[in-house]
């Protein structure tokens, strides 16, 4: 398929703008643009057709089942798209006076209250733009909290080896030092390893619970005693919150700071990579350090008024413009109001679905931790690799031929040939069964027709793409007349990276 730039012809144009009969503005010559940007030149029909074709070459949750582990690819209700487009939300300027933004501020305040209840914590800032920004914000809060207490020597953050890559990357961005802790044979944090690593230099823990193995840490109460006993804080990576809404709250588990991925648990559509939302909820003791402005309510009932509070002298500052990604808040608020207290049922069904798929697949694939799972689980294709030379990547590519998006693969790192499967709560049993049937058929194919898997996918717009070549040549923009022509490299070396895909 051609690039939009390759469809461009000089003189075509889709836009018309208002014309005013005014004298032109002046720009000093040295600041005036010399060579126009080579933007596409198309009339409207081709603009629509081009991007529609790109849509047909993209697989979304609307297209089909998407069990990408740790990504919580659930149905995105369409009413949320309707309400976010109400002019009172869509066309509201973020610097509008508080008097002219009472509805928006009330919505933000209400969402804060809901997230405090769901997480079991006291105060919420909606500002972080995504989960990873919530993480770095949470670490900044730790730094500010300990500085305020005169405990600036606390420089270490403890992270288990199952953690998302964002956790260690956030630790570096926040200027902390990373301390790794192992996972034990049941998939919990190894307490013996942990005890030797928590002390007066520890600022805190970052933990996903249930973990990226889809397992609830059975020692969470002891973990809390270890960290709080050492005067350290606990950060909860909310990537897996979909497992525990109304069932177990991070605040009750002992966590002091939590981020919530609104684009996972609360249904903000993921848009091919974003937007997201990463609000953080904290215990009362950390509230003074939250980003500004805070959204606060004065008075109650009919006379309630909402305002932005910038008067927070201990605040860490700002991590993003304004109050955060407001449109994401509208969708997530609408989503939660559609459930009400039945949010618990959402998590129950997510866990039921995951355990059902696990039960159907665990004989055909290796199960590294033989326990009931929470909302997701991790299988290993190690048996297929050993017996037939078939990798997790081959299984993933073959699933495409059956019409399913593959699960997350090669993550978490503690499981070789990992297949991380998260069905979510919104699927029918028929869909889950069809997926299981496909996975079982693939395990049989691995034995009977392994080439079928190694050459998969067979029915997508492109076959397996050469990731090694892409990294080597680094062609990251169209080069117009000078655009290089790539050809296939004649080699038998693997051309795909056995690196994490998903989560």
């Amino acid at each position: 398929m051609k690039l939009v730039f390759e469809k461009s012809r000089p003189g075509r144009r889709a836009s018309t703008l208002p014309r005013y009969d005014l004298p032109p503005g002046d720009v000093p010559d040295e600041l005036r643009r010399e060579r126009p940007p080579r933007l596409p030149e198309l009339a409207e029909p081709e603009v629509v057709r081009h991007f529609s074709e790109l849509a047909t070459r993209t697989f979304g949750i609307d297209t089909g089942f998407y069990p990408l582990g740790s990504c919580t690819m659930k149905h995105n209700p369409r009413v949320n798209e309707r309400v976010v487009a109400l002019p009172g939300f869509r066309d509201l300027h973020p610097l509008q006076d508080e008097d002219g933004a009472q509805g928006a501020l009330e919505l933000e305040w209400r969402l804060q209250e809901i997230l405090a209840e769901v997480t079991g914590l006291d105060a919420v800032s909606l500002q972080p733009a995504a989960g990873s920004q919530g993480e770095v914000t949470g670490l900044m809060l730790m730094r500010a909290y300990f500085a305020d207490r005169g405990e600036g020597e606390r420089e270490e953050i403890v992270i288990p080896d199952t953690a998302h890559g964002t956790n260690p990357a956030s630790v570096t961005m926040a200027g902390y030092t990373l301390v790794d802790v192992r996972t034990d044979r049941r998939g919990n944090i190894d307490l013996d390893d942990l005890r030797g690593k928590v002390g007066p230099r520890t600022a805190g823990l970052m933990l996903t619970n249930p973990s990226t193995l889809g397992l609830f840490d059975e020692s969470i109460e002891e973990i809390q005693r270890i960290f709080h006993g050492a005067g350290a804080l606990m950060y909860y990576d909310g990537a897996n919150l979909n497992a525990v809404c109304g069932i177990s709250r991070p605040g009750d588990m002992g966590f002091d700071i939590v981020h919530i991925n609104l684009h996972k648990t609360f249904s903000q559509p993921h848009g091919g990579g974003g937007p997201g939302g990463g609000p953080i909820a904290v215990r009362k003791t950390l509230e003074p350090f939250l980003p500004v402005p805070a959204v606060v309510r004065d008075g109650e009932g009919e006379s309630a008024r909402f305002r932005l509070d910038y008067d927070r002298p201990k605040s860490i500052g700002k991590v993003r413009a304004f109050t955060g990604p407001f449109g994401v808040f509208v969708r997530s608020y609408a989503y939660i109001r559609a459930y009400g207290p039945a949010l618990r049922e959402m998590s129950e069904v997510a866990v039921l679905n995951a355990n059902y798929v696990l039960a159907r697949l665990k004989d055909a694939y290796e199960l590294p931790f033989d326990r009931l799972c929470m909302h997701e689980f991790v299988l290993s294709a190690r048996n297929l690799k050993r017996q037939h030379g078939i990798t997790a990547l081959d299984v993933a590519k073959r699933l495409m031929d059956y019409g399913f998006h593959p699960p997350t693969i090669y993550f978490p790192l503690v499981v070789p040939e990992a297949l991380m499967i998260e069905p979510t709560e919104t699927e029918t049993k028929e869909t889950l069964d069809a997926f299981c049937d496909a996975m079982l058929a693939i395990a049989r194919e691995a034995e009977e027709e392994p080439e079928l898997l190694r050459e998969a996918p067979h029915h997508r717009p492109v076959g397996r793409l050469d990731e090694v070549l892409a990294a080597k040549r680094a062609i990251v923009r169209y080069g117009f007349e000078e655009h290089p022509h790539l050809t296939r490299e004649d080699t038998s070396e693997p051309r795909q990276l056995e690196a994490q895909k998903g989560a």
Binding site: L3, V4, R13, L17, Y20, G25, D26, V27, L31, P37, E41, V48, L54, A55, T58, F59, L68, H75, V79, E81, L86, P87, F89, L92, H93, D97, A101, G103, E106, Q133, M140, G165, T172, E218, G246, I247, S248, R249, G273, P275, G317, A321, F322, P325, V328, A342, L352, M374, M400, F411, T428, P461, V462, R464, R473, I475, V476, L486, R488, A499
Partner: protein
Amino acid sequence: MTRFLSLTEADREEMLEAIGVTSVDELFEQIPLGVRFDRELALEPALSEPELVTHLEELAARNAHTGAELSFLGAGIYDHYVPAVVDAILSRGELLTAYTPYQPEMSQGVLQAIFEYQTAVCELTGMDVSNASGYDGTTVAADACFLAKHATGRSKVVLAEALNPQVRQVVKTYAPGFGLEVTEVPHRGGITDPDELREAAQDAASVIFQQPNFFGCLEPAVDLAAAANEAEALPVAHVDPISLGVLEAPGAYGCALAIGEGQGAGNYQSYGGPHYGFIAARSEFIRRMPGRIVGETVDAAGKRGYVLTLQTREQHIRREKATSNITTNQTLLALAGLVYLSWLGPEGLREMGETCLALGRYARERLQQAGLEPVFPERTTFKEFAVRVGRPAAEVVTEARRKGVHPGYALGRDYQGLDDALLVCVTERRTQADVDRLATVLAEVATT
């Protein structure tokens, strides 16, 4: 049973049996009793879809949006027209509901769109490489500082005071974690002095200035970039994409990086987000870029395709040594930007810039006739300009709004000595008649 769940009672029974448990509660026995939640969540009762829409309509109705109130607010977020094609493409379910394109054979459409977006951003800014988007126009500035620190080994960054205050605040919030010291260079009569900037840039990793700056004034950008380069600090221009049909591209005057807020190009104001930030650089910084980058490749049959590439920069491979922790970005909003720029085309972008310039000039002159003096009379401005209102500007805003006009942003909150200054923004959506009405209202409520 809620409307987003599909299991029947019979399904549940069969599934529990297959798992080998008798109830859903049994699945949760791995959670220690002490941390199980033993009451119902205290949330308001569920709303049916019609009730939900009514409730949200009531909240929306209490917001004075730019379709209901004549507004001259800008200051970083702009009421530019969003064409119907943008809404149409963004409502395509495949694009709306896809995840990050980890499996390229499933996601050629979104990968190609990102490759095209990267190309458009490079063309606008005169750069060689762009990522797939950052969170917004503030966080990309922090990204640029992190990149510059590691590229130069220096631990200071310089910000022009005329750079958007929220951008500066975000950089200052991130700086301690990055191990960076932040220095600010004051504006002189609305613009930055290149000599002062050169002085401040000694030993600095980077210098960030904004073009047009927060006051709408055109900075001597060529001289500022040269001053930074002379001090061997990386010059970073924070630019308005809408201006780049008429204003020179940062790559053409020696900048190392170009960053900015994309909202004005294709996104609604949406009370501040979600929008997209862009970050583009010269090719020498490609392996230090934050976040997702899409590259071209071929499949086993030699057919062209696109993949996420150079991933050894990223958190999921490099972990604590990554160039950033970003994973989720703003792809859908960046796609809106690409559709918008495809709609506008190069000629449309130029025309848009000329229209903003001309309307801005008309508004400045019209307000001056009404007795409102520009704060920086010597300066050329684009789309925005500051005027004196003779009394606290925040009060003028309140009174003008009673007359149905939001006259702009009161600058006093961010700049000392500008309590009586208002930042007025005129996009192509404001007509001459709108500007005339603003002049009339301000003449009534300002002290002239």
